[in-house]
Amino acid sequence: MKTWRRINWPIMPPLIAVACLLVFPLMIVLSLSTRQVAPGQVGGIVGGYQLTLDNYLTFFHPAYLRYVTDTLWLSLIATTIAVLAAYPVAYWLAVAPSSWRRRLTIVALIVVLYASAVVKVYGVSIALGPMGLRGSIAEFWGVGMNNRLVTSTVVVVGLINFLTPIATLMMVAPFQQISPSLSAAAQSLGANRLTAHLTVIIPLCRAGISQVFMLVYAASVSAFVIPLVLGRGQVAFLSNLVYARFSEVADFPGGAALSILLLLITLCVTLGLGWIVGNPAAKWRGYRS
């Protein structure tokens, strides 16, 4: 009777749900990724089980490497721009007193954040399409309209459009942990606003900002719709490749190996937070009270 009551009943249903819908499927994907591909079979799965690493070894083929570099490099450019632009807006949101302008900005950010990705990607695709600014981008790079460079630029613009609201809302929290009087104190001691910001605020928020950067980067690396529509088949991310393995060539073991690779990359990015963090803000908060 006693052990019966000691079991944490409420936590069981959600725990079972996560186990059935996430842990179990991922195990299947992991086991599938080590099976041999059989052309002509449904999903490319052989009846008997034969352990192989072939599905992973193909990643080192130069054709694959391009997808990996596209994913990582274009995401890096877009994340950097999005985080830099989000920074001043988030800082203002964190320190400004409540006003209609602050309220309006928050409403706008949340609307833009939750507005359908379909709207965003469609807007970008026609605004930067052949009838839009695509010609100007081609002119800027000095190449033809269908050059890969132009397509890459369009994908990066699409990613910035998607990432900036996320970055802004996430970045508000680290700034809220800093006393606004610190910047005022530095300025009264002779620093200009820029120096005050660079030497006082940024070092205190370093951990929080790098954390936001990594999370935004992870979101960018796993983007699916943006490279699918804006990449026009010229530029594709790993996520699109997983989908192509399923919808175009029906190579499930290959898709499984790609899924594991994508999962590992995003996990490394998000868990990589740990070693950047030496958290001076936490130390400062300790002195506050």
């Binding site: 959600p14 299947i28 606003r193």
Partner: protein, 278 residues
């Protein structure tokens, strides 16, 4: 001198933010304006007049209307399920007092957030095929449930954060059973968190493409998946009209949220904010 450097710096920062702001906002306005285009082909911006033809076309296209209902039904089912499971998870986490197991379970419930949606879709397709359910309504609903669960757990946990176990103890010391304490004390306090979680779960589910793309069947397709595949195939401004309507839907949801909860509260005020709007 000091003021000069300040103003130069602020101007540069302002210009940069302005450019990115245009990148963020302009595509919305572009879709909005183009959805009223009276021309029958994709022409240059701006359109020469105003017309509602693309909206009429959306509602007369049976494929779009059916996908819209499918999307709404899946969003509702998965969000309700996520709210029930997420609230249970938050309640369960309250009962665990030791730090290590609580952090582990917390991480478990947050983990779907760190798995790319494409991987969730692919993995669920493989698992459901093995079990024999296959793709379709159940599979899409389960995928959405998994994707929005972390959102709900977080918002309900945040709402319960202030109350902790002492209130349950107090209610029980006054003669309530544990079940009564939870239903009469804890759930009402968590109501805001559940509502916020529900609204965001709906918004996320209505817009999900990456996982759903694996799990649709010819008869069960969600609206964003249809729109994306049409977008790749042809340039039809019905997509712009549909996109604008989905955006209006989100606007309504966010407006409701602002009126009932107050949107500024979602940001919180940190350690130094004024306490007046907490």
């Amino acid at each position: 001198m000091k003021r000069l450097i300040d103003s130069i710096g602020l101007t540069l920062v302002g210009a940069f933010v302005g450019v990115v702001l245009i990148i963020v906002v302009a595509p919305f306005l572009y879709s909005l304006v183009m959805s009223f285009d009276p021309r029958l082909y994709l022409g240059t911006f701006p359109p020469p007049g105003i017309s509602g033809q693309w909206y009429a076309k959306f509602f007369s296209d049976e494929r779009y209307v059916r996908a819209l209902w499918t999307s709404l039904f899946i969003a509702l089912t998965s969000s309700v399920a996520a709210c029930i499971l997420g609230t249970l998870a938050a309640l369960g986490l309250l009962r665990i007092h030791r730090e290590a197991p609580r952090a582990a379970l917390d991480g478990m419930f947050a983990s779907p957030k760190f798995v790319p949606n494409v991987v969730i879709g692919f993995a669920l397709l493989m698992a459901f095929s093995i079990v024999g359910i296959g793709a379709g309504f159940t599979a899409i609903t389960c995928a959405h449930l998994l994707i929005v669960l972390p959102l709900v757990v977080r918002s309900v946990s945040a709402a319960l954060d202030g109350i902790k176990p002492s209130l349950i103890d107090a209610a029980m010391s006054l003669g309530a059973t544990r079940a009564q304490a939870i239903f009469d004390v804890v759930i009402p306090l968590a109501r805001t968190g559940i509502a916020v979680g529900f609204v965001f779960a709906m918004a996320v589910s209505l817009d999900e493409v990456a996982a759903s793309a694996f799990l649709t069947t010819p008869s069960v397709v969600t609206l964003p998946v249809v729109l994306i595949s049409d977008m790749k195939a042809n340039f039809d401004l019905t997509i712009a009209a549909a996109a604008v309507m989905m955006m209006v839907l989100v606007l309504v949801v966010v407006a409701v949220l602002d009126i009932t909860v107050g949107i500024e509260r979602l940001l919180g005020r940190g350690s130094y904010g004024d306490s007046s709007n907490r």
